[in-house]
């Protein structure tokens, strides 16, 4: 997908679409000076896509023309205002022309030979009036419902697309998804340079938007389906770049926020590594994870916290009860809490949302609490986590995930199928003995560092997490004794945290 080592291949000139993520998938944007067909069913986001293409074009110094066949200029402005696009301003400052083409069959009588020269003149004049480099025709297929001579229309559209090429404008032509082919009128036969398909699917009452580059003549492109979002900031496609394993590995350690856990790991997590904190319900996963957030904020680093079980208020209250005050960091803008229910969106929408938020907020650390429960399907969950982890690693962001496991689960299942991607795995347990419950913590693995193999008792106190130096209260347990080690690899260095 990413052609870093394609040296001698002369590639097509491309125009950056400005649609977040799309330019990465297409290796630089849409084919410059050529038409691109964007197809999708009703509500798939075709109009928003094209508007964003024009607005971003203006931001990059390329003026545009929007020819609307379905909405009036006023309706269009209104519809995209929610995305923060001020079309009226762009029109007033002569950066954009919005022309509503109205073809009403009931008012029209066809009496002989005609052509679409009027449309050509109109478009040509609009292009000239602002020196446009980008053109959108949305949705030109509406002409087929207004005019009856389809043979003529097809010939004229073919001529129109050729004309657009001759004018050298980068064009986006939208079309309704057809039953037999990509579009109702088979426009994909005429616009053959680049075809993008937008899809809006609902599975199990959860909707997911996806984008796929069906065709890109003369260019390599990602062929996957990429989830995308439409929100207040516009369109954003989540590129699942083929990571390769090229991310840099930092040797820098960052504190876990728990002094004894730092000792157990010989100094803390590696910066940019991925940490999994798994445990049964109530075993203290969120507490261990937020301790890290606390430490990161204290270092002045930005943290992004995706909470899928608790609201920001609830979380802030609960964590402050154990000495993890989150509110001051939020006030300072170092911590951002994003809460939502896993079931509200499809897994890919979640992923796209996280991706976008991370891009915008640029955190040094990300917390996902928990990574379980997104979907029933383990395969889907794994695919999503792989993408997320790859992305975080590429960005050098330290990530802490929590994962809920049931008591009967075998240790191997703790990592939700992504064991190979996890660098440090911390397992929390809730043990019952002699009428008391104990919390126990152990480092199951931690790549690239010697670490303690102890299972330590820990307590969650009003001042935070307190891990016992050794495990006196548990030493009677034969199971625990088996794995107990007296040696603490970090002991000689004694880099005590706070």
């Amino acid at each position: 997908m990413r052609l870093k080592n394609s040296v001698a291949v002369p590639s097509l000139p491309k125009a950056r679409s400005g649609v977040r993520g799309l330019d990465e998938i297409t290796g630089g944007g849409l084919p410059r000076g050529r038409p691109t067909l964007v197809c999708g069913s009703a509500g798939a986001g075709k109009t928003l896509f094209s508007v964003e293409f024009l607005v971003r074009g203006v931001e990059m110094g390329e003026n545009g023309v929007f020819m609307a066949f379905e909405e009036t200029a006023a309706e269009l402005s209104q519809n995209v205002a929610s995305l923060g696009f001020d079309l009226e301003h762009l029109v007033a400052t002569k950066k954009l022309v919005v022309d509503f083409v109205r073809v009403e069959r009931s008012e029209i009588e066809e009496t002989g030979e005609y052509d679409l020269e009027g449309l050509f003149v109109r478009l040509g004049h609009a292009i000239d009036s602002v020196g446009a480099k980008r053109v959108v025709l949305d949705t030109i297929e509406s002409l087929f419902s207004g005019l009856s001579n389809t043979t003529l229309l097809r010939a004229e559209l073919r001529r129109l697309f050729r004309w657009l090429k001759d004018r050298g404008v980068t064009a986006v032509i939208t079309a309704e998804r057809g039953a037999g082919g990509l579009t109702r009128q088979g426009l994909e036969e005429y616009v053959s340079d680049c075809v993008i398909l937008l899809d809006h699917r609902v599975q199990g009452q959860v909707s997911t938007r996806r984008l796929r580059v069906v065709k890109y003549r003369g260019s390599s492109h990602g062929t996957n389906e990429y989830p995308f979002l439409i929100d207040a900031a516009g369109f954003s496609v989540l590129p699942i770049t083929s990571l390769g394993l090229q991310h840099r590995a930092s040797a820098e350690r960052v504190s876990t926020g728990i002094a004894r856990l730092d000792l157990m790991l010989g100094g803390g997590y590696f910066r940019g590594s991925t940490v999994l904190v798994s445990g049964t319900a109530g075993s203290g996963k969120t507490s261990v994870a937020t301790a890290f957030v606390q430490a990161a904020c204290r270092r002045g680093e930005r943290c992004l916290y995706f909470a899928f079980e608790e609201s920001p208020q609830q979380l802030t209250r609960n964590m402050s009860s154990i000495g993890n005050a989150l509110a001051p960091w939020r006030k300072q803008g170092l911590l951002r809490l994003e809460s939502s229910r896993p079931a509200v969106y499809g897994i890919e929408t979640h992923l796209a949302f996280m991706h976008k938020t991370i891009r915008v907020f640029r955190p040094a650390a990300v917390l996902v609490d928990p990574i379980t429960d997104f979907t029933e399907s383990l395969a889907d969950n794994k695919a999503m986590l792989t993408r997320l982890i790859d992305f975080l690693k590429m960005e050098g962001i330290t990530a802490v995930f929590t994962s809920l496991v049931s008591a009967e689960m075998h240790v191997d299942q703790l990592e939700g199928g992504v064991s190979s991607l996890i660098d440090t795995s911390i397992v929390l347990r809730d043990l019952e003995r002699e009428g008391r419950r104990y919390r126990a913590l152990s480092v199951m693995k931690s790549r690239g560092m010697p670490h303690s193999r102890d299972i330590r008792e820990f307590r969650i106190t009003r001042r935070g997490i307190d891990i016992a130096e050794d495990q006196p209260s548990l030493s009677d347990s034969p199971r625990l004794r088996l794995t107990a080690r007296i040696s603490d690899p970090s002991a000689p260095r004694k880099r005590a945290g706070r």
Binding site: E109, G112, E113, Y114, G118, V121, H125
Partner: protein, 116 residues
Amino acid sequence: MTPAKAAVRLRGRGPESAPSEPAERWDLRLYVAGHTPKSIAALANLKVICESHLKGIYRIEVIDLSAHPERARADQIVALPTLIRKFPPPMKRILGDLSNRERTLIGMELTPGKEK
């Protein structure tokens, strides 16, 4: 304004009852782009129809979009040639070179059967 409105209403009853006052002339606009065979044919066909059905009460304005491209947008022109019946209302659009005389008459509401 009131007399004008009354005149409009009168027109609506049907063209054949039209008195031949100059204010109530048929106002026809023919949009073309340059002197193409289609545009020449359209104008010729239109003149023949007007002479036989609207003699003395019509006015044809030919608008060449190649000279006035901005008119295409202002008047919602897509196909060429386009004939627009501006007056009497309602506005009618007739596409093509007007070679199909019957359809042209229907489009212009010049057939007795189309009257209200």
